[in-house]
């Protein structure tokens, strides 16, 4: 019996189909019955009886068969699953073993794939959250913002809404289901005596609905709170409620002081709801307190455009229809609000109204930048993939002998293909794991590095989408990596073909494919490097722009004096004078001052000025420009603290406030150039707030140019008035004052507590807020731009590295293939130099060809980058030349190293390889 068993081949496979199972069961039972029947016949029973007897012993045959079928089907399922897992595990082991024999290749491939997929994954996350996802408001895709472009003031300048416009449009535009606006300002909040600085967001009641806000305690603002003369109420934001009031559950109904006014808290808002960040905001401040706007439809109305709007399109209406309606309504503004609007105003300022989809407005340029980034990273990924595929192809070449032998002993194409797939899967899986790690790290790094004001960046985190993206990418790459060599392979080489030395037709085809890959890689790499080069030079130019101030060693903070107790400018001045004197007495403080405006932070705004010379107005009208400028009440010491250079005349002094009838003002150079071009501005007459009646202020000093929010904007036309107004002159009231203090040594932030004590000594109810070093604020303002540039620069660097690896791999391979040829040549007396040139020559020619094509591509890339560039032309020769040289050098090095190794080849060894 045992002999038979050894002779049997183990080919048992449980048939997969149910028909197969059934036929086996059938056969098994039939055998049993047949044998039994023969037994019974041997005992003397006639056949029919024997058959009946045998069947009877089985009992219900059908039921037994069904039972067996059920069991067998279960077994088949388990087996199949087990087999598949085993086969997969086996292939993976093969793949791992094969890769372990060539660790350099495996590491290079995994690194390449991991970094490529990882960066693609995190940029994709960014793109998804910041650009693709809708804003976190209900029906966000139907929300719009209303802006008023004023090309007459400054090209590209856009103003917000006036209250006149709000009331005018509110009931007359059926295409907009609701319009709401918000203003944000810093306020002093006093909770049980403790003063605190907070961010108040003043809204019309409809805003609560538009934001999809809910209350977790009490209720939210509604129409009755928004009526003129309604009692002052406030809703607290969740964060503020927890941090400032300790999550006090009895807060509803309590009264707090907001800017000295008693306000009743009516509710607490649910977390995670806020107005969208503003474009170009350097610091993104979350709302703490929500107040009702309580505007009166009866006015008074001014030509003040400060309200930021959110409106919802009515169901069925589209943006174009709403836009048309608003265009028609605009003509009615001067008639309805003669105080605020005139026909001349529209003409002069080019004032008109435009609707933007809210998301598009909030994102601004960020969307385009992120898409560009994504494009760049995709290119990098493609280069990475080409690299790895090329390397795999090369490896397959070197294994042709091994494969031929395998084929001779019976390996099927399917098996070899499965092995290739296994290798691809192992590589791609390892790459995917690395990619996830890279993604995690780089996403966190991106978020930490990025400037505030990029909308919703704080909501970015690695999530399921990225995982899916990375894994999907890994899968695609795995399959492609396996398919490319398999397709290329076209069949297992026969041993006979091998012995010919391998210059077959298919070899040439493969060479061409790899050649194409090298050319593509070089071209893409050049495009990326040129792009990065252009942007890096832009960044350089940006950083080189004179900021107009010296931010090192300066700390800034702000405070706000409520007008209830500081009801005259003299009182305001006295407060500032007292406090600033104390601050200047702090050891280490060199200078201190305050102003309503701060470069790189506040933007300086645009307030109309009046001039005593008619010719100024005539000149401006001819040029189509307006008289508005950045007006700021300022204390002495401000310019000195920021080290704003004095161009002519003098800075403001204490006397200008003690003797305000002198009417001294200081202007920036840009202001002087705009309004008094070619003339000496000292002594010229000007008045704030558009006043054209005497008495006029006179210019006593000119300071260097300043920037409103970012260095790439045109210089601000700034005019700095003393705190105390000229008697009989224009009126103003300074809102938030920004204080700047320069210290000669140490960390400027260390002064903050001492400054707070100084303020407390003068008035303990005034809180200070937003303490930061000036350097931080300047960096932040540059942040948005340099963020994009930095990332693209990195993409370029990665592309460069990958191209180098790819080229190195290719040339190494070429050398390996031609080892025997090289051996022969050396044996025949070729010099090492000649050998190197021979080997490297062909590959470098390819690389050069790639660079040529890349130049064309790079020009296209430069066109796309267009608006991002600063101070650098798209055809900047330095960038292009540098990129070509760098890539050329890299290619040269990548080719030279293996070539040198080739030249050292022992000719005997080389010949033996054959």
């Amino acid at each position: 019996m045992t002999d038979r068993w050894e002779g049997l081949r183990r080919v048992f496979r449980l048939p997969l189909g149910s028909r197969g199972i059934q036929s086996e069961i059938d056969a098994e039972i039939r055998f049993h019955l047949e044998e039994r029947v023969e037994e019974l016949i041997a005992k003397g029973l006639p056949r029919p009886d024997a058959e009946r007897e045998a069947q009877a012993r089985f009992g219900d045959l059908r039921r037994v068969e069904l039972q067996m079928e059920r069991i067998d089907r279960r077994t088949a399922r388990h087996r199949a699953r087990g087999e598949a897992v085993l086969a997969f595990a086996r292939d993976l082991r093969f793949g791992l073993r094969a890769l372990r024999r060539h660790p350099a290749f495996a590491i290079a491939a995994v690194l390449t794939l991991g970094i490529g997929m990882g960066t693609a994954g995190s940029i994709y996350t960014l793109l998804q959250r910041v650009v693709l996802d809708p804003l976190p408001y209900p029906g966000a895709d139907r929300l719009v913002r209303i802006k008023n472009p004023v090309p007459g003031v400054e090209k590209g300048d856009e103003w917000n809404l006036s209250s006149a416009q709000f009331f005018h449009y509110r009931d007359r535009v059926p295409e907009l289901a609701s319009i709401a606006f918000y203003d944000a300002e810093g306020v002093n909040v006093a909770l049980f005596g403790m003063p605190k600085r907070a961010q108040a967001t003043i809204v019309t009641a409809s805003m609560m609905n538009l934001l999809g806000a809910r209350a977790v305690k009490g209720r939210l603002l509604d129409a009755r709170d928004d009526a003129t003369g309604a009692p002052s109420v406030a809703v607290l934001s969740y964060g503020f409620w927890r941090s400032a009031m300790g999550g006090d559950s009895t807060v509803v109904g309590k009264s707090i002081l907001v800017d000295e006014e008693p306000v009743v808290v009516i509710g607490v808002m649910a977390p995670g709801i806020d107005v969208p960040p503003d474009r170009g905001q350097t610091i993104a401040t979350p709302s703490d307190v929500w107040l009702a706007a309580r505007l009166s439809p009866a006015g008074p109305f001014f030509n003040h455009h400060v309200h930021r709007t959110i409106a919802r399109l009515a169901p069925g209406a589209d943006l174009a229809a709403a836009q048309r309606r608003i265009d028609r309504l605009q003509a009615g503004l001067p008639q309805a609000f003669p105080n605020a609007y005139s026909e001349k105003f529209f003409e002069h300022y080019g004032f008109h109204t435009v609707l933007y989809p809210l998301k598009q407005y909030v994102l601004g340029e960020m969307a385009r930048n992120l898409w560009i980034l994504f494009g760049a990273v995709s290119l990098v990924l493609f280069i990475a993939f080409a690299n790895v595929a090329s390397l795999l192809l090369a490896r397959l070449e070197t294994r042709r002998r091994e494969l031929a032998v395998k084929g001779a002993i019976g390996a099927r194409r399917g098996d070899i293909a499965r092995e290739a797939l296994a290798e691809g899967v192992v590589l791609a899986s390892a790459g995917a794991i690395l990619a996830l790690l890279v993604s995690l790290g780089s996403t966190r790094w991106l978020v930490a590095l990025s400037p505030p004001g990029i909308p919703r960046l704080d909501a970015v985190a690695l999530d399921g989408n990225v995982l899916a993206f990375t894994l999907g990418l890994a899968l695609v790459i795995a399959i492609a990596l396996a398919v490319v060599p398999a397709a290329q392979h076209g069949g297992i080489p026969s041993l006979a073909a091998l012995s010919e030395g391998g210059r077959s037709g298919t070899g040439v085809r493969r060479q061409r494919l790899r050649g194409i890959m090298v050319v593509t890689q070089m071209a893409l790499a050049l495009m990326l490097v040129v792009g990065s080069g252009l942007l890096l030079r832009s960044l350089q130019r940006l950083r080189a722009v004179d900021p107009g101030i010296d931010p090192a060693g300066v700390v800034t903070l702000d405070w706000y004096l409520p007008y209830q107790r500081y009801d005259s400018l003299t009182k305001v001045w006295r407060f500032h004078d007292d406090v600033l004197r104390r601050i200047r007495a702090i050891p280490g403080v060199v200078a201190a001052g305050a102003s309503e405006e701060l470069p790189f932070v506040t933007g300086f705004g645009c307030t109309v000025q009046g001039f005593d010379e008619e010719v100024v107005f005539d000149r401006l009208k001819e040029a189509g420009l307006t008289t508005c400028a950045g007006q700021a009440p300022t204390t002495p010491g401000y310019f000195e603290a920021l080290r704003i250079p004095l161009v002519a005349g003098r800075y403001l002094t204490d006397d200008d406030n003690l003797a305000p009838e002198r009417g001294a003002v200081v202007v920036t150079r840009a202001f002087a150039r705009r309004f008094w071009p070619g003339e000496n501005p000292i002594g010229k007459g000007v008045n704030p707030n558009g006043r054209t009646k005497p008495p006029f202020y006179h210019v006593v000093g000119v300071v260097g140019d300043l920037h409103g929010t970012a260095v790439d904007e045109p210089a601000v036309m700034g005019i700095f008035y003393p705190i105390v107004a000229m008697p009989g002159g224009g009126r103003w009231y300074p809102s938030e004052m920004h204080v700047v203090v320069r210290t000669s040594h140490g960390d400027p932030l260390a002064l903050v507590s001492t400054i707070r004590r100084a303020v407390n000594e003068v008035d303990p109810s005034i809180p200070i807020a937003n303490a930061a070093t000036m350097q931080t604020l300047v960096n932040r303002s540059m942040g948005r731009l340099s963020f994009t540039l930095l990332l693209l620069g990195i993409a370029g660097a990665v592309a460069l590295a990958l191209a180098a690896i790819g080229l190195y791999g290719l040339i190494s391979y070429v050398v390996a293939r031609r080892t025997s040829e090289i051996g022969v040549r050396i044996a025949l007396g070729a010099q090492p130099g000649q050998v190197e040139r021979l080997v490297v020559g062909g590959a470098l020619r390819l690389a050069a060809f790639g660079l040529l094509i890349g130049l064309i591509g790079a020009a296209a890339v430069a066109r796309v980058l267009g608006g991002l560039l600063y101070g650098v032309a798209p055809w900047d020769p330095v960038s292009y030349l540098a990129a070509v040289l760098v890539l050329g050098a890299v290619a040269g090095l990548a080719g030279w190293i293996p070539a040198r190794r080739a030249a050292r080849v022992d000719p005997i060894e080389a010949l033996r390889e054959e």
Partner: protein, 113 residues
């Protein structure tokens, strides 16, 4: 003989099959014949229960089956123990010994009144 509890019977049947096959591979009929021979016809395996039991043992991985040829040249399905099947046999035999020892104790010990 009164029909005993089905579960008990199935367990016993499994034990008998496994033990029989521990002597070497057999087809289903072979197992039945061997048991009938050894017990002098006293133990008759119910044929309707035999094959489902064998297939279940195969599902649990204690047996593996192969198609082969009998001496007469007929195709038959042969079963043999797997490694885990072998371990199972000794476990089952031990269990049965303990069980039968327990039964013996009950039958032989004098009871309380």
């Amino acid at each position: 003989m009164p029909v005993p509890d089905l579960d008990l019977l199935r367990g016993t049947l499994d034990l008998l099959l496994l033990k029989t096959l521990s002597w070497g591979p057999m087809h289903g009929l072979g197992v039945v014949r061997w048991i009938e021979d050894v017990t002098h016809q006293r133990l008759q395996i119910e044929e309707g229960a035999l094959y489902p039991a064998l297939h279940r043992l195969e599902e649990r991985g204690w047996l593996e089956a192969e198609w082969g040829y009998t001496e007469k040249g007929r195709r038959a399905k042969y079963y043999q123990l797997t490694a885990s099947g072998r371990r199972q046999v000794s476990a089952e035999v031990t269990k049965w010994s303990r069980y039968s020892e327990a039964v013996r104790l009950v039958l032989t010990t004098e009871g309380a009144r």
